[in-house]
């Protein structure tokens, strides 16, 4: 595990101890007083046995039960790579980035046109993520429109596991499909117990704001808890529409939604590897767009990350995403701000890198540029050492007034600690002209093409590949 994933400068804390407590206690109040609507009868039964107050589908959760569940937080959730080697320690201030999922469109790398996504695109994104240093995990990015849409989620999983070794966060359309995907993951890991012991997958599922646990989403959460496999339970609350318009109110309601799922998971299996987090999304009240990169959303993510730390649960956060219709200046500035902020707050599993068009389109350029920005930001969050060697007082004295440092041993020894980018331009104007006057987008496009044309991810063993194919085929009717 590289040190770079760890935040080495003070974490950005936006909520004081008192505010954290207040949000926590207010959340308990919502869960006790208002409760949640649970649309899956089996889950209602479990809540009931756990001591909740039930009225039909309405479940009101007592404070003590939430506190009990919060005492079961797993100290560390490890996600492995496809080969079962530890790849991410989701804890404290370790920050990892990955793509998003399920955009219906993609910007074609070769024509520049926005078009509907196909399976090949999911394979290509997987290849690119497999290659990029700063992408630690993979989500499918697009929705494949050229396969049986009832099981496109299964096709996505097959494509991802075939084209990348990195850990996978996936979505599943329903319980049956989820079972199939878990079965495929078990094949790849070499059995149920192996997968449980070193999982390389996490399911993305969610509550429905305001305060509902939908039937299928809950069934999916329950299956992961039964199997003791990692699950992300992330609300997508739109402030002013499906939650209070204020960040505080949104945070409390969203927190109640997550904790309801968390309590359920723990009633099924204590210490289920549960990943906290989610979106408190501001709506643009002129256009009705749910914005992926508003200031308010970024602020809310920082606050949510503080809550995650307070609970000692890993945080599922957002970065590298944009509301711009295309890859442009807006896309890179919004993507970059989100990367900086989620890094400073120490979000653990930070997704949606590559989203433009408010989550409706995937852009390779946005992924590639975000990868650069993440490198740049990691250099910041790495901080710097202060010791005899780095303070260099003897050297300062030796060189003295009017000297130069270019030829000193000390410079040679340390200059490589500075971060260098492949794509960020730092050349004199005329040289830039000579090199073809390329802007960042063009360079990112070229790099993506280069990866696709030259990178061959380590293939999955033929035997496993064939077995996966067989499973997919058996479901494709």
């Amino acid at each position: 595990m590289k040190d770079k994933y760890r935040l080495n400068i003070p974490r950005l804390n936006i909520l004081s101890r008192e505010k954290l407590e207040l949000i926590h206690l207010s959340t308990l109040e919502v869960l006790r007083r208002t409760g949640v609507a649970v649309k899956e009868p089996k889950a209602v039964e479990i809540f009931k046995k756990g001591g909740c107050y039930i009225e039909g589908e309405r479940v009101r959760i007592p404070e003590n039960l939430v506190e009990w569940a919060l005492r079961n937080t797993p100290p560390r959730i490890t996600l492995s790579d496809r080969n079962g080697n530890p790849a991410m320690f989701l804890e404290e201030n370790n920050v990892y980035f990955g793509t998003g999922s399920d955009t219906p469109n993609i910007v074609d790398l070769y024509t520049g046109e926005r078009r509907i996504t196909v399976l090949k695109d999911v394979e290509n994104v997987s290849k690119v993520v497999d290659y990029l240093d700063e992408m630690s995990f993979l989500m499918c990015s697009g929705i494949a429109s050229d396969v049986n849409s009832k099981i496109s989620d299964i096709y996505h999983f097959e494509a991802m596991v075939n084209y990348s070794e990195k850990p996978i966060v996936f979505t599943a359309w329903d319980l049956e499909n989820l079972k199939t995907i878990v079965e495929m993951a078990e094949v790849v890991a070499g059995g149920k117990e192996r997968l449980k012991n070193s999982p390389f997958i996490a399911l993305y599922t969610e509550p429905i704001s305001p305060l509902q646990l939908a039937e299928e989403a809950t069934q999916k959460l329950m299956l992961m808890a039964e199997k003791y496999l990692p699950v992300v339970f992330t609300p997508c609350l739109i402030t002013g529409a499906t939650g209070p318009v204020t960040i505080a109110g949104g945070l409390i309601q969203g927190n109640a939604e997550i904790l309801a799922g968390y309590v359920l998971a723990n009633l099924i299996n204590e210490g289920t590897p549960f990943i906290y987090g989610g979106g408190i999304i501001a709506m643009d009240m002129a256009t009705s767009i749910a914005c992926y990169a508003s200031s308010e959303f970024m602020l809310a993510s920082a606050a949510f990350t503080d809550m995650a730390r307070y609970y000692r649960l890993p945080m599922f956060s957002f970065a590298g995403c944009s509301d711009s219709s295309l890859y442009d200046q807006q896309a890179s500035l919004e993507g970059a701000l989100r990367i900086l902020l989620s890094s400073l707050s120490g979000g653990n599993l930070v997704h949606d890198v590559g989203y433009i068009d408010s989550g409706l389109t995937t852009s390779f350029e946005q992924i590639i540029v975000s990868n650069e920005v993440i490198g740049m930001v990691r250099r910041i969050t790495q901080g710097f050492e202060i010791n005899e060697e780095t303070m260099a007082l003897d050297l300062i004295d030796k060189i003295g007034p009017g000297g130069e440092y270019l030829t000193s041993e000390h410079t040679l020894k340390h200059f490589k600690e500075n971060w260098y980018s492949e794509l960020i331009s730092r050349v004199p104007y005329e040289k830039w002209e000579e090199e073809g006057k390329k802007d960042l987008g063009i360079k990112a496009n070229e790099k993506a093409r280069h990866i696709l044309e030259n990178h061959t991810p380590k293939p999955l063993e033929e035997k496993l590949k064939a077995e996966l194919r067989k499973i997919v085929k058996s479901r494709d009717k």
């Binding site: 219906p104 469109n105 929705i143 429109s145 849409s149 009832k150 496109s152 359309w173 429905i208 939908a214 739109i238 002013g240 529409a241 499906t242 709506m283 009240m285 002129a286 256009t287 009705s288 409706l360």
Partner: protein, 211 residues
């Protein structure tokens, strides 16, 4: 200021209480329900609707006006049929089966209501049987469907086929929307209209009902 103007201003300001009281007062003054509707309530909404299109006001402000209009509508609704005032049109709307995305469809429904249409919102996860049932029951002029998922948008086609099979196609115009929906998809599945957002959905419905 005449009372109809006052009603219109009450709607514009989103003041439900005053609209309710003023409508009541207007009725005692023997002003016709048609006039109250068109020159009071709808006139107020028209102003707000125009301002919304010009980015002068925002969705919550429009919705609060729509709520105020509803406060007046409640009073005159029972009298409209008797007075032979035709409603601007009836809309049945819902998010299709398997899809739980709610809020975009709700905004469209509420704004249509604000624009003076009678709207029945069937909620989310709506089956074709239920759509048909309500189109018939309400004698709807417009059937609106919302879908935000690639996996559920295909269901819209099934609903349209069901509408055709039930011989309702000439009575009801089908419109569709939702984030992944496009014009060309609407054409492909033979919907009568598509709108990318709520503001244009209102224009779309007005247009379709003019024809």
């Amino acid at each position: 200021m005449d009372i109809l103007e006052e009603i219109a201003i009450g709607v514009e300001k989103g003041d439900s209480n005053s609209v309710h009281a003023l409508t009541e007062k207007a009725l005692t003054q023997n002003i016709s329900v048609g006039e109250i509707l068109n020159n009071g309530l709808v006139a107020g909404m028209d102003v707000i609707g125009e301002k919304f299109k010009n980015n002068e006001v925002f969705i919550p402000e429009v919705l609060i006006s729509a709520k105020a209009m509803k406060a007046g509508m409640e009073l005159i609704k029972p009298l409209l049929a008797k007075a032979n005032v035709e409603s601007k049109g009836k809309v049945v709307i819902g998010t299709v089966k398997g899809d739980l995305h709610d809020i975009g469809k709700r905004i469209v429904a509420m704004l249509l209501e604000g624009a003076g249409f009678e709207v029945t919102d069937l909620g989310v996860d709506v089956s074709k049987e239920k759509f048909l049932e309500f189109v018939e029951k309400e004698r709807a002029d417009i059937l609106g469907m919302s879908a935000l998922l690639t996996t559920t948008m295909t269901y819209m086609k099934e609903v349209i086929e069901a509408v055709e099979n039930a011989n309702l196609k000439q009575d009801v115009r089908v419109i569709i929307g939702g984030a992944p929906i496009t014009h060309s998809y609407a054409e492909e599945i033979k919907a009568d209209g598509y709108a990318p957002d709520a503001a244009s959905a209102i224009d779309l419905v007005k247009d379709l009902l003019k024809k």
